[in-house]
């Protein structure tokens, strides 16, 4: 285990190098697998930041996925904005929307927060499917995305996946992260000691919304077609919950392991989409019953092994 700890940075560097050079030596299939892995990693890392570190179980991440995707579609198709600018606008729109709903949504706690965020996303789904401007439920083809090569999308996705891990690591090592951990351990005591609970949670909520919006933009560069029922569907959050629970909620490595498991299961079971979700649901329940802290959490408890430790030594 000592050996593992000391060699972990070499391992991480080699892995990232392998991913960067992937399009030049692997088949397109594997590049696609890593692309999906990276995007799922970034999205689940953001859900983990909320549910695992801030105590905010959001079932409404699909609101920001939809907003990010639709911002890309509307600004690149209708206004001819550059693609990357449209994606950034998507992130901004998500942050602004998160700020707008934060006033009512932060009055809700626990389960109320979960259902509140879900209801907000459902509301957006109905609004968008009744909105002529975005083509009702028929959806939009993001034609400008055809200009990009597959490799460009791959490198962007990979970059975002790595950046999401680094971002969460930096947040946890910052004053904000310290505050979050204090809140998680003992909410009342941390408040007495001067931790601004509302501000900590709000900051995480906004960061999570913004990054999710941007990731969604990159995702829809790959998907090309956006439609309200799928973009604002609860399936997104189901996926993020699954990834984070399997990998280990409240650990940085959890979403990495979870995304890995998810993408592979998904590829293997892709011929049977109905069975695939059935099995995912079953695995999620089994993991919560048998190892509530997920794969990575259990490894940490048993062996004390961490790849990226947010703790101060």
């Amino acid at each position: 285990m000592e050996l593992l700890q000391s060699h972990r940075f070499i391992g991480i560097t080699l892995m990232i190098l392998a991913f960067i050079t992937l399009p030049y030596w692997a088949s397109r299939y594997w590049v696609l697998v890593v692309l999906l892995f990276s995007l799922n990693l970034a999205l689940s890392q953001m859900w983990n930041l909320l549910a695992g570190y801030s105590g905010l179980i959001s079932l409404g991440q699909q609101a920001f996925i939809g907003l990010g995707g639709y911002a890309l579609a509307v600004f690149s198709i209708y206004y001819g904005f550059p693609i990357w600018l449209s994606i950034l606008i998507g992130g901004t729109v998500s942050v602004l929307f998160a700020l707008l709903i934060s006033a009512p949504i932060f009055r809700m706690r626990g389960v109320y927060f979960a259902i509140g965020t879900w209801t907000v996303a459902e509301t957006l789904r109905i609004l968008f499917s009744n909105w002529e401007y975005v083509g009702y439920g028929m959806g939009l083809f993001i034609k400008p995305a055809y200009k990009l090569t597959f490799n460009t999308i791959y490198f962007t996705a990979l970059g975002i996946g790595v950046a999401s891990v680094v971002l969460v690591y930096l947040i946890l090592r910052s004053k904000l992260g310290l505050g979050l951990m204090a809140i998680r351990d003992e909410e009342t005591a941390s408040e007495t000691l001067g931790v601004d609970i509302f501000r900590c949670k709000l900051t995480c909520f906004l960061i999570s919304a913004g990054v999710t919006g941007v990731v969604s933009g990159v995702l829809y560069l790959h998907t090309i077609f956006i439609q309200p029922y799928s973009a604002f569907g609860i399936d997104w959050t189901i996926r993020l919950v699954f990834i984070t629970i399997i990998g280990g909620i409240g650990t940085i490595e959890g979403p990495i392991i979870g995304s890995f498991v998810y993408v592979f299961l998904h590829q293997w079971l892709s011929d049977y989409p109905s069975v695939s979700l059935l099995i995912l649901g079953g695995i999620a329940i089994a993991v919560i019953l048998a190892a509530p802290r997920g794969i990575m959490g259990t490894i940490q408890d048993r062996l004390g092994f961490e790849i990226l430790s947010p703790r101060r030594k």
Binding site: T119, T123, V275, L277
Partner: protein, 291 residues
């Protein structure tokens, strides 16, 4: 002004009657929320499961769907007991995440199992009741099925009220919900009590499922829609009150039908969600919460 009001007579009547159905969809969720302190994210799927069970029963014995309740209620009762006793009881604890996520996993499994068995086609338990309208006062026509929903809802809530106030089990359930520790000291096995509570809640979901199937078409993925309705009923009505849940259903039903009347049918669900969000924001404990 008067003409607007008389225009609205139909929608208001329909909204209130639909609200009765919403009340019975929400009652099981409210019970579990209040007694086990658990949000059963699979409640909507329990409702749809019962719709499909009734659908299967009818394909073997072509009877009126209401008669299938004789089979559906006990089956759902047993299902609820098993789910709570063997699954959810094991993850109840200090934090809310594990039971929430197990219920969520259960919801995914149920939906996809139904999808696998019954395909994504729309199903319904339509009979002559579903298409009959009855004239009221010579100027209104209300769908007979809405009236059936409303009456069934009132009967169910009345029976539950009697059960919680007159029987030993009902009193034990209330005791366990008021103070788990004290109830255990009095010799009540709270784990079994929770299983009974979930069994009864699933039984009411069974009734709701048959009524939903007789009133609307359903798909394997319709569950979450009814979960949000159930949650809305619980939030608007407030926790721990049978009457509050019923009134919550009426308000939600009214909001939806009036929303559809003024803004168009696409906005029926939307106006319900907006009411839910407004109540969540300004009075998260619900309009008719006790104490």
């Amino acid at each position: 002004m008067l003409s607007i009001l008389s225009d609205l007579k139909g929608p208001i009547m329909n909204g209130l009657l639909l609200g009765g159905l919403y009340g019975i969809i929400g009652i099981g969720m409210s019970m579990i929320f209040g007694i086990v302190r658990l949000v059963n994210l699979a409640h909507g799927d329990f409702v749809i499961l019962a719709s499909y069970l009734s659908f299967v029963t009818i394909s073997f014995f072509p009877v009126n769907p209401l008669l299938t309740l004789i089979i559906i209620i006990p089956v759902m009762f047993l299902w609820g007991y098993i789910v709570q006793y063997y699954l959810l009881n094991r993850v109840l604890g200090k934090t809310i995440e594990p039971p929430l996520l197990v219920a969520f996993g259960l919801s995914i499994i149920l939906q996809n199992l139904l999808l696998l068995i019954f395909t994504p086609d729309a199903r319904a338990l339509f009979t002559s009741i579903s298409v009959t309208t009855i004239p009221v006062g010579g100027f209104l026509n209300i769908p007979l099925i809405y009236l059936v929903d409303f009456i069934a809802s009132i009967i169910t809530i009345f029976l539950l009220h009697r059960f919680f106030n007159k029987t030993y089990m009902g009193k034990a359930i209330r005791a366990a919900s008021d103070d788990e520790g004290a109830a255990q000291l009095m010799g009540i096995n709270t784990k079994t009590i929770y299983a009974w509570a979930m069994a009864i809640a699933a039984g009411t979901a069974g009734i709701a499922g048959v009524l939903v199937g007789m009133t609307f078409t359903f798909y394997p993925h319709t569950g979450p829609e009814y979960l949000i309705i159930a949650f809305g009923v619980v939030i608007v009505g407030g926790l721990g009150s049978l009457l509050g849940t019923f009134l919550g259903g009426l308000i939600l039903g009214l909001a939806q039908i009036l929303g559809a009347h003024f803004l168009g049918p696409g906005f029926q669900l939307l106006s319900g969600y907006l009411i839910l969000l407004i109540v969540l924001t300004f009075k998260p404990t619900g309009l008719f919460a006790k104490g």
